[in-house]
């Protein structure tokens, strides 16, 4: 099963908001702790190492694209 990048939530704004709100009031260090736990919980729920690897690649690619954009702006 490949990684699904279609929009899976009926109300995507609710999902985004739920994650954002979970971070409200946290310091950066607390947020990082929180994210670490959340990633592991979600990864286990997915339970498919191939999907997880694809997700990791996609996230990594975002990061690299972001860096390139920054460099171009400079």
């Amino acid at each position: 099963m490949p990684l699904s990048t279609n929009s899976n939530f009926a109300r995507p704004d609710d999902a985004f908001r739920a994650v954002v709100e979970a971070h409200r009031g946290l310091t950066d260090a607390q947020s990082a702790d929180f994210d670490a736990a959340l990633v592991l919980i979600l990864a286990n729920h997915i339970g498919d190492i191939e999907v997880l690897r694809e997700a990791l690649l996609l996230a990594k690619r975002r990061m690299i694209d972001g860096q390139q954009q920054q460099q171009q702006q400079q």
Binding site: A32, D33, A36, A37, V39, L40, I41, N44
Partner: protein, 538 residues
């Protein structure tokens, strides 16, 4: 390895001059196999080869065993191998049998595991036994075998690899001499001098974290289990391990900081308060103290001309997982029957390449597993530390969190994706597939499948489940028959269950107890083809 040890050598052996030393260098004596290094791997390999009818010379530069406990955990697989070598009973009798481990975080237990949760196996999941006992029992067995010529204080100082042999120059208290060997097996440990002589790289990862081993003697009521702590109250922020050995000796392993000064840390007066904090008392004596860093690395190739590397000389892992000595013993088990066949001329020399292929897979797996355990204990970055913290806290309330906590994954036999296996041609719902190690199972009271295999002579063996008719077998294959007239009884049905057997099912086992092929309906042709593939004949 460590100073500050009250513990002295357990056994010392005499150097004896051998007639080979009287021969001039140009007319040096020749031997089929010379093993360098009389540790657990070299000695086990020597016994195995001798039992297969080979004459073996074993050289060791020391004259004693017993400098520290060193390896202490010997796996079920190693015990099954030692059974075939005639030494397992003594090891198990002396050793401390265990199968349960507990992982703690702070003051509370996160989970416990049982490494052998089912009955019907001759050997336990693990025994703990000081390496010097294991070596002493192996030496005793060697003495019973006239085909083994064990030479102490014989130090190899030069090696010349020729097309058809290797020539060793050996230093002794009486001066040096030379030997020709058809094959040399280098079992001379992590700092192998033979590895340097062949000019091989030994690449891998160096870990900066330091660990303190203290073997202490005390009477204690802890159960015979492996206890591992993350961030215990007595050793804040780091990990700790407690493990029982025979003679009221306990192995304690404490993680230290990366910048700890080894010379200071291993002074008994500095170790004592740490251990006292852990135990809650200071009624103990030190047996052995050692401070170590470790490396996970391997040689690219385990074969260098006529020199074959086995054990720590070929690959080195972190100690978490008991993968050092046990994987070395698996090397010996894998190599012995192949080398025997090559020396007899019943298989081509290319069969030895499969030793490199199969044991490389195992080395990679062992390095991967032990690196992961080490990384979990000593995270590299803040974010890695966060992920670990998340796992440890999730482990308190979730099953998946417990399964992610890595306090060492203990050694189990590797399964080989190997050219010696014949692929399954039929459907199987279970049982060991080709490339996997055979599984033990009970054959009535006090009798086991591994015994039947050993008594059969540990050669190629067909394990078959009777359908009433006789199997047409190729010559030279031993036979273990379950059920039917004259067959072995399987009263518990566990042999059939563990091998997913139906009437007529058969497994072809290699001399090292690995599955070469399996059949729902064996024919002579199919068995012969699998046999010839497993012997490296095609």
């Amino acid at each position: 390895m460590a100073d500050a040890n009250t513990h002295q050598a357990k056994t010392q052996f005499g150097y004896r001059r051998h007639p080979d030393q009287d021969r001039p260098g140009k007319d040096a004596a020749g031997h089929p196999v010379v093993i360098v290094g009389a540790g657990p791997v070299g000695l086990s390999l020597a016994i195995d080869l001798a039992q297969r009818g080979q004459r073996v010379v074993v050289l060791d530069d020391a004259d004693r065993i017993g400098e520290g406990s060193r390896a202490i955990c010997f796996s079920k697989r190693s015990l099954e191998y030692w059974d075939r070598l005639g030494v397992a009973d003594r090891m198990v009798e002396k050793g401390v049998v265990w199968s349960v481990g507990r992982i703690f975080h702070g003051e509370s237990q996160l989970y416990q595991f049982n490494l052998l949760p089912e009955d019907g196996h001759k050997r336990p999941a693990f025994i703990n036994l000081q390496q010097y006992y294991a070596e002493a029992y192996l030496v005793d067995r060697v003495v019973d075998l006239p085909a083994i010529d064990l030479r102490w204080r014989n130090k190899v100082t030069a090696l010349e690899n020729r097309n058809d042999s290797a020539v060793l120059t050996i230093e002794t208290p009486d001066g040096s001499y030379r030997l020709h060997a058809q094959y040399v097996v280098a079992c001379d440990g992590a700092r192998s001098s033979l590895r340097q002589m062949v000019g091989a790289e030994f690449g891998g990862q160096v870990f900066e974290d330091q660990f303190l081993i203290a073997d202490v003697k005390m009477t204690a009521e802890f159960p015979t289990e492996r206890w591992f702590w993350f961030d215990p109250p007595f050793h804040a922020g780091r990990s700790a391990l407690l493990h029982r050995q025979p003679d009221d000796v306990w192995r304690i392993d404490l993680q230290l900081s990366r910048d700890a000064d080894p010379a200071v840390e291993k002074k008994p007066e500095n170790v004592r308060p740490r251990i006292a904090r852990m135990l809650g008392h200071d009624k103990f004596e030190f047996e052995w103290i050692s401070l170590y860093k470790f490396q996970c690395r391997r040689m690219d190739r385990f074969l260098h001309g006529r020199v074959i590397f086995a054990g720590d000389s070929a690959h080195q892992v972190s100690p978490f997982g008991a993968r050092g000595a046990n994987s070395g013993l698996e090397d010996a088990e894998n190599l012995s029957w192949k080398l025997d066949r090559v020396l007899r001329g019943t298989s081509p020399a290319s069969l030895l390449e499969s030793y490199h292929v199969e044991r490389s897979l195992a080395a990679d797996e062992n390095i991967r597993e032990s690196t992961r355990s080490t990384d979990f204990m000593a995270p590299h970055s803040q974010q890695e530390a966060r992920l670990r913290k998340a796992v440890l806290s999730l482990a308190k309330e979730t099953e998946f969190g417990k399964r992610m906590v890595n306090g060492g994954r203990l050694s189990v036999p590797c399964s080989y994706d190997t050219p010696l296996s014949s692929r399954d041609a039929e459907a199987w719902r279970g049982g060991p597939s080709p490339g996997c190690s055979m599984l033990d199972a009970p054959l009535g009271e006090q009798a086991y499948l591994t015994d039947a295999f050993r008594k059969g002579g540990t050669d190629f063996t067909l394990l078959s489940f009777s359908n009433g008719a006789a199997i047409d077998m190729p010559a030279g294959v031993k036979d273990i028959r379950i059920g039917g007239e004259g067959g072995l009884a399987d009263p518990s049905g566990l042999v059939a269950t563990r091998y997913d057997a139906e009437p007529d099912t058969a497994y072809l086992l290699r001399p090292d107890g690995y599955v070469a092929a399996r059949f729902r309906h064996p024919t002579r042709e199919a068995i012969a083809a699998a046999l010839s593939r497993a012997a490296g004949l095609n």
